[in-house]
């Protein structure tokens, strides 16, 4: 801590930071552009000039850039000094010289950092009479608009995109006042974090193209604190609604999880909410009852009729199948409706086995599950099998930052403060902390990896066992080849040398043996470190869906599996079945699901999108989407977080838990999510922690709600006037502490439910600094979520891992960020980046088969035969074959032994596959520092 004086007022500040950051931490308004809380300082824009005085006698002072000025104890500074104010007003005037006078037609308008800073610096009228520099724009793909005229050359975009997120296709071109930020040639921005440019860019150069297609100003959007349901990380989001449709998602700061950045699946996947595939009304398939196969006999009904039908159909013993993509409340409601013995987690058997292993590991003392910020602080990471960039992309971004810890350490040794971004990068050059990747194919993290091992799951397990043995000689592992042992020794050495080593894996491979082998390495590492340090070893597993862990926790203690449920259905050993928000064709072999459907039990499905499975439902109930319903989600660390509905769904949509809780549907209000949680938490001691998620408000906030709308929300008396000139009553929300209006406790008084960051004078998302305890610190108020698991398990010794056979040809399954997840795949922009199913093989196998790049092969497994376009990659496990299912292929049948043969090429098919592979953006040029 240091004591400094700014404009005659004494402040206690953190001496490790720069002056700008500390000014903002103290709540002072100082304009800036190039500095970003997560990316440090480069001193490019000259906007944050302040006066620095030598001592109390110095009356003249010197102008310094606050972002480049380290804090000195006893320092005297002035923001208000007239020379500093004058300097800043001239800087902004020159930055605005070529600004194109197009705020009214700019998507950034109203939440523009440049507008805010211009106001703050007091620049009003343009005095420069000469010509403005103009630029041509590029088409940057389905996510982003490009409008280069608005650029002020702060370099934040390339610093984020290149330095922070590791992208290589956004660069600064040309020089002096011609400088241009774009691609070498027009095309889609490849990086999976490109969407963050919308928030990183202080002006409107990069704006959200999907938002622009149904644009609303920030002040007109109704927002609520929400949780991304795209994967198991649990990033905090602020979705915005206008006129009954979801318009966009922006980042909502969470200190431990997403920080300032979201991945593109999370940011652009929201459009599935507005998809034509939405289930908008109850569908009752009369045809199935009458034995008539005419699909047109579907009868639509009102919510009340549907609820009655639902009650009538689900008497007696009912099988309930839960869902990892439904909220905790919906799953609880189903569990309570059908009873624990009839509740089946809707995870595939392989996934369930893996998640059960993970749950044990999350309870095991001596291990620690790092949050995303924790991952960023690890100085050696062993990433096992999971293709994080395509499954839990935010974790991949964190690992990319973790590799920078070597640079930070070098800088600290050289007495360079870590926020001196350019200096630290210059010093470190390509020096990185070790990141070791074990994977069946090249990944998008390979460019920062210190070592990559390409191997099938069986080969990876062998290597992991060898590492465990290197770490702890007592570990019982089979003798391996000297090459593998040498490799294992290098990796073990890196893990031992690190002060905070971390192991990261996932359940995509659906292999419990892999999880056990990874855990064994963590245990061996802990034994090795004993004596040196008692700190637990970091070990975490990425979860594929937003509530995978929550669902597994609910079903813990029961031996029910999905295949058991399906065989019960097939044999008709129940009176009816309820399937909650789940496409079972993605969870079990098609033959098994079809057999279950042939059982002819009354099947009720609740879902918000039509899919292959719910087309078979006798009654399909329209469920509210995550943005339209309250709910809690349990992320990969078993952290439960609450999401609040952004807007009330249109009749007859209901949240799944509302459908599932037997109540008179006419009598409002329906059951609230908090009521379900509270009841469940008091009945189940294991879930007692959930109580902390419930609304606890004091003082003014206890009697008033928090508004979902900003104070300037417009058009209230005209929005629906075309339907009826008398205004409709504001939708009430008795279930949550938020209201569907602009009245309530202002954000500045109570930010415990921070729907969206806004502060007077700070209209952009960078207003978040006004809600943090200090810059990059915790939020002042609000619930960070609660951990549902404590380290109370047994201190397990090593688990024996099953040896997998390497003889048969079984594929590994590829994941893709775009299209790989069921719900976001329905968003139009995501679809534009997604590909269909394909197979991935290496050169050797391609030659054997006689197939060319983008040609086609036929894959036979059991009774399934499919023809797939082929991607021949250099970086793929020797002898491996990868298959991307795209949600269309039956993964479970393909996981058996495969037979592959070439198919004759047709020119038009070749063209089509080439077109499909264009967006995959697979880069095999990285060989890793140590070779592969």
């Amino acid at each position: 801590m240091a004591k400094i004086s700014i404009d005659g007022i004494q402040y206690e500040v953190n001496a490790a930071n720069n002056l700008l950051q500390e000014c903002l931490s103290q709540g002072l308004d100082l304009p800036y552009f190039c500095w970003h809380p997560c990316m440090g300082s480069v001193g490019a824009c000259r906007q944050c000039a302040v006066k620095q005085y030598r001592d109390a006698d110095d009356t003249k002072g010197t102008l310094v850039m606050a972002c480049m000025t380290p804090i000195t104890d006893g320092g005297i500074y002035s923001i208000q000094d007239s020379q500093a104010v004058d300097f800043r007003s001239h800087v902004i005037e020159s930055l605005m010289i070529s600004h194109p006078h197009d705020c009214p037609v700019c998507e950034e308008g109203g939440e523009c950092h440049l507008q805010d800073m211009t106001q703050m610096s007091g620049h009003n009228y343009r005095r420069y009479d000469f010509q403005k520099v103009t630029h041509r724009n590029q088409n940057l793909g389905p996510f982003l608009n490009h409008e280069m005229n608005r650029c002020i050359a702060c370099y934040r975009c390339v610093r984020f995109y290149g330095d922070y997120a590791g992208g290589s296709d956004l660069v600064a071109l040309a020089s002096h006042h011609h400088v241009y930020f774009g691609r070498h040639e027009e095309g889609t921005l490849e990086n999976e974090f490109s969407g963050n440019l919308v928030e990183v860019c202080p002006t409107g150069v990069f704006t959200d193209k999907t938002f622009s297609a149904h644009y609303s100003r920030k002040w007109d959007l109704q927002t609520a604190p929400s949780i991304c349901s795209g994967c198991g990380v649990g990033c905090n989001t602020s979705p915005g609604e206008r006129y009954g449709s979801l318009r966009r998602i922006v980042n909502r700061y969470h200190h431990d999880i997403n920080g300032y950045f979201l991945c593109d699946r999370g940011r652009f996947g929201y459009d599935a909410n507005n998809s034509p595939q939405r289930v908008t009304e109850p569908v009752f398939a009369q045809a199935r009852i009458n034995g008539n196969s005419e699909a047109s006999a579907h009868k639509s009904m009102t919510a009340l009729e549907a609820a009655r039908q639902f009650e009538a159909m689900t008497g007696g013993e009912v099988i309930g199948i839960g869902s990892p993509r439904a909220s905790l409340e919906s799953n609880i409601a189903l569990l309570q409706r059908v009873g624990a013995e009839n509740f089946y987690p809707g995870l595939s058997d392989g996934e369930l086995a893996c998640v059960r292993e993970v749950l044990l590991l999350l309870r095991e003392p001596g291990l620690h599950c790092p949050d995303i910020r924790g991952l960023e602080q690890c100085d050696c990471v062993l990433l096992v099998d999971e293709d994080l960039s395509n499954t839990s992309a935010r974790m991949a971004l964190a690992l990319r930052q973790a590799t920078r810890n070597a640079a930070t350490a070098m800088a600290t040794a050289a007495r360079i403060p870590p926020w001196q971004d350019a200096a630290v990068r210059e010093l470190a050059q390509h020096e990185r902390s070790p990141l070791i990747i074990l994977s069946p194919q090249g990944t998008r993290l390979d460019d920062v990896a210190s070592d990559t091992f390409l191997g099938t799951v069986a080969q990876q397990i062998r290597l992991l066992n060898a590492i465990s043995r290197c770490l702890d000689p007592h570990f019982d592992a089979p003798v391996e080849s000297p090459e593998l042992v040498a490799r294992a020794e290098t990796i073990a050495g890196a893990l031992v040398q690190a002060t905070r080593p971390c192991l990261v894996s996932g359940i995509s491979a659906q292999s419990p043996a892999l999880i056990q082998a990874t855990a064994n390495v963590a245990r061996a590492l802990r034994i090795r470190r004993k004596g040196e340090t008692e700190s637990p070893v970091d070990l975490c597993f990425a979860m594929p869906e937003a509530n995978t862990l929550g669902l597994a926790l609910l079903a813990e203690g029961s031996a029910n599996t999905l295949s058991a449920a399906l065989s019960r259905l097939a044999q008709g050993k129940a009176d009816a079945a309820i399937v909650l928000e789940n496409d079972l064709f993605r969870r079990a072999p098609a033959a098994q699901v079809n057999a279950a459907l042939a059982g002819q039990l009354p099947l009720v499905v609740l879902d918000h999108l039509h899919n292959a499975f719910n087309a078979h439902a006798r009654l399909l109930l329209p469920a509210a989407s995550p943005a339209e319903s309250n709910g809690s989600w349990v992320n990969y660390e078993a952290r439960a977080q609450s999401a609040y509905r952004v807007f009330a769904p249109k009749e007859p949509l209901r949240a799944s838990y509302e459908w599932l809780t037997p109540a008179d549907p006419v009598q409002l209000p329906l059951i609230g999510s908090e009521e379900i949680l509270a009841q469940f938490a008091s009945a189940h001691p294991g879930f007692a922690a959930l109580r902390k998620l419930l609304t606890q408000r004091e003082g003014l906030s206890a009697v008033m709600k928090s508004p979902r709308q900003l104070p300037r929300y417009s058009g209230r008396t005209a929005m629906q006037a075309d339907k009826h000139v008398h205004e409709y009553r504001q939708t009430l929300d008795p279930q949550s502490p938020l209201s569907f209006s602009m009245e309530g406790v202002p954000l500045q008084k109570d930010s415990s439910l921070l729907s969206v960051a806004w502060a007077p004078g700070w209209n952009s998302n960078q207003a978040i600094s006004k809600f943090q305890q200090e810059i990059n610190g915790e939020l002042q108020q609000g619930c960070k979520g609660v951990h549902l698991l404590t380290r109370d398990g047994v201190d397990a010794s090593y688990t024996q891992t099953a040896q997998l056979s390497e003889k048969t040809l079984s594929p590994y399954f590829i994941s893709h960020l775009f299209g790989g997840e069921e719900i976001s795949a329905e968003a139009a922009a995501i679809q534009a980046r997604a590909s269909g199913p394909y197979a991935c093989i290496d050169d050797k196998r391609a030659r054997e088969l006689g197939v060319n790049q983008h040609g086609r092969i036929a894959v036979h497994a059991g009774e399934l035969s499919v023809t797939l376009p082929v991607l021949i990659r250099q970086r793929i496990a020797p002898g491996g074959i990868g298959i991307y299912c795209a949600g269309e292929l039956d993964r479970f049948t393909l996981a058996q032994e495969l037979r592959v043969e070439a198919v004759a090429e047709e020119p038009d098919m070749l063209l089509r596959s080439r077109e499909m592979f264009r967006h995959l953006l697979i880069n095999d040029s990285w060989q890793g520092r140590n070779g592969a």
Binding site: P100, H101, D102, C103, P104, V105, C106, G109, G110, D129, F130, Q131, K132, V133, T134, H135, R136, N137, E147, N149, L173, A174, H176, H178, Y180, G182, S212, A213, H214, Y215, S216, R217, W219, D220, Y243, R712, Y713, S714, G715, R716, T717, A718, M719, A721, D722, H724, V725, H726
Partner: protein, 179 residues
């Protein structure tokens, strides 16, 4: 007693006399609607949406009128044509809420929304006071004849390329090495 007479009775007699004299004054009443009053051009009456000198819609759906409106009676939705020009997909004013304050006109950066001297806006049915873009859009420029927002703003639209707006240089060739 005398004082009471002086204070009340005389005053009333004087008032009666003055009222009587007004019978011979020139009348101020206008026989509306047979005689239409002459309004000032800056009178804040019925709101219209104008067109630019090229005959295109001036409104760019920036939403500033809606946010400035103290009674929130303006609602609109932005749309964009293939060549980048913004326009309102719908533009609705609920005149039964409008207080004719003129803030929308002040806020409008393109001179699209203007208040006119027309005050005859009564309706028998309140629903008829909700006006859509088709009702609001006139074919002329209204009070401001010359202003064309897109000729000044640097956004490319159909018929106006980059570098063709006022005070703009031709687009930079990023591959050029010249200073």
């Amino acid at each position: 007693m005398l004082r009471l007479i002086k204070d009340t009775l005389i005053s009333q007699v004087v008032t009666l006399w003055k009222v009587f004299l007004h019978a011979f004054d020139k009348t101020d009443t206008v026989e509306y609607p047979d005689v239409k009053p002459q309004m000032f051009s800056r009178w804040r009456g019925r709101i219209i949406l104008s067109r630019d000198p090229d005959g295109e819609e001036r409104c760019v759906a920036c939403n500033l009128c809606a946010v400035a409106c103290p009674v929130d009676c303006i609602a609109l939705q932005k749309a964009e044509d293939e060549e980048g020009r913004w326009y309102p997909e719908f533009f609705r004013i609920n005149f039964s809420r409008c207080i004719m304050c003129g803030f929308c006109e002040e806020a409008c950066p393109t001179h699209a929304i203007q208040l006119t001297p027309d005050f005859e806006m009564a309706e028998y049915v309140r629903q008829d006071m909700v006006w859509e873009k088709e009702d609001l859009l006139i074919s002329g420029t209204g009070k401001y004849h010359d202003y064309n927002f897109y000729r000044i703003a640097g956004k490319k639209i159909g018929g106006k390329d980059k570098g063709e707006a006022r005070n703009e240089a031709v687009p930079v060739n990023v591959r050029s090495l010249l200073p």
